[in-house]
């Protein structure tokens, strides 16, 4: 069998007395949409941080596309095809939507020690950027300053920036967080169209979104993965019900 696109082994991360990631093993195959759910403080964002290269794990290994990337920093992982969105929207607010995406294209096409030619005049940057904006539904907003976009549009822009790097794996940290019902449904529909084209690992609170999108789901509690399976299997798992979906846990919002 082919090696999974992303393979995590024995991952551990401690913050003082808190074991935020506790012996996590996880395999994600190419083309799969994989969700990690869990109550607040379960360590989901810490996990994403370690996958993206912002946090160094204390122990364990992360293999991506057949390479050990445990020691690589975020920019290097991005260039290997690992793109991410942040839990709190992270864009370049004082650039136009188009420039935001063009920057992402630029980061992945050749060096940037070019001092003379205006980047905005390079079709090799702006043309793909426009196409990606079009595909996420922001085609008409290309020249708007990113700071002036609506919240939902900014989240779309973030996805557009990630897609513009032509990723093999998309890490999404709560992609529908803070969105209204209609907006989040639109985002879920859009992410659905990506299914199969790009491998997705998402962390999410919104159970509707997770159960609609994910092929497989892992449930994380106190830094540990307590169950992995399809939506049906996870829903039916006794331990999960007790720890998370059950009575003493906060209801999934």
């Amino acid at each position: 069998m082919a090696e999974p696109l992303l393979a995590i082994r024995g991952l551990r991360k401690r913050f003082g007395g808190l074991l935020a990631t506790d012996q996590v093993d996880l395999d994600v195959s190419e083309g799969e949409t994989y969700a990690v759910i869990g109550p607040n403080g379960a360590g989901k964002t810490t996990l994403i941080g370690q996958l993206a290269g912002d946090l160094r794990p204390d122990d364990g290994a992360i293999r991506f596309a057949g390479r050990d990337v445990t020691r690589l920093d975020a920019p290097l992982r991005s260039r290997l095809g690992l793109a991410r969105s942040f839990q709190i929207t992270s864009i370049f607010p004082d650039f136009s939507a188009l420039a935001n995406v063009a920057l992402a294209v630029q980061a992945h096409t050749g060096g940037s020690f070019r001092f003379w030619r205006p980047a905005a005049g390079e079709p090799s940057l702006t043309r793909p950027a426009r196409a990606v904006l079009e595909s996420v539904g922001l085609g008409g907003r290309a020249d708007v300053l990113a700071a002036n976009l609506a919240h939902g549009e900014q989240r779309q822009l973030e996805i557009a920036m990630a897609l513009a790097t032509k990723p093999r794996l998309l890490l999404l940290d709560e992609p529908v967080a803070g969105m209204g019902l209609e907006e989040s449904q639109r985002m879920v529909r859009f992410l659905g169209t990506l299914k199969g084209h790009v491998t997705i690992v998402l962390v999410e609170h919104d159970m509707d979104a997770v159960f609609t999108l994910a092929d497989r789901i892992s449930v994380m509690v106190y830094g540990r993965i307590i169950a992995t399976g399809t939506a049906e299997e996870v829903r039916g798992n006794e331990e999960v019900r007790r720890a998370y979906l059950g009575e003493d846990a906060p209801p999934p919002c």
Binding site: P75, F92, F95, A107, F115, W116, A119
Partner: protein
Amino acid sequence: MTTTSRRAIVLGVGGLALALVPPIAAALNQPFYVDLFRRMMIFAIAAVSLDLILGYGGMVSFGHAAYLGIGAYAVGIPAFHGVDNGFVQWGLAILASGLAALVIGAISIRTSGVYFIMITLAFAQMLYYLGIGLETYGGDNGMRLTRRSLFGPVDLTNPAVFYYVVLAILLLFLVAGGRVVDSRFGMVIRAARSNEPRARAIGFSPFRYKLAAFVIAGSMGGLAGALLANQTEYLTPDFMHWTRSGEIMFMVILGGMGTLFGPVVGAIVLLLLEDVLSALTAHWQIVLGPILITVVLFARRGLYGLLAGAPTRDG
């Protein structure tokens, strides 16, 4: 109007106005103005170079006067030993200050916020005390520059010729600066200023780009220092004092951070205010202070932002 055409107009009109200063000063029989405006333009060059890293790169360097000093000593020390060739002196100024910026930047860019400010300040103060320690070259009294840099037929002792040399360098830097901030390179350092975690997440490693910008700015500052030594025909460690760094930073903030022409406006206005106010009262700084505070509070994009209404960081 596009940014490019707006810039071309400002550059053309501003350049022409500055070019008219020597004939007007001659007509009014006020040669002093040539001297004053030349001084303004030299500080404008220093301020433009600081704005490249401060306004566009988000690096609050509080030691920019260090490069001014290195540039001045790169003229003064060879001149002291009888080397008057301008190409040697100014070339040395650019190289030495660029090298200093490489060292200072390689250390300071790993930090951010207050630490960055303190480290750049500390390096500049170190160089300031080094200057005081150079007994051979006058210690803390500094030394006279016995003759201005020699450039063959281009005679810098002629006030107007020297003036146009400075003007040409300023215009060259503004044109080149405008290209650089819009280039791929410029986009990277501006993106890192705007949101560094995001820049890293999309695949940029900002460090080397920021370091390169730091070196470019340092070299430009060094050239400004070489010009300043020729302007004053005197150099002292005071060129590197932290108050001088603060003055250059004020020019940038007053004129408009992250705008191409703002630092030029800032340098002209600050030195003009200094000149006018110090003629009125010995306590001119008491008047200057509130003016600066007002601008900082009410004109977020500085005087140039007010004048041009530049809506983005592109102007």
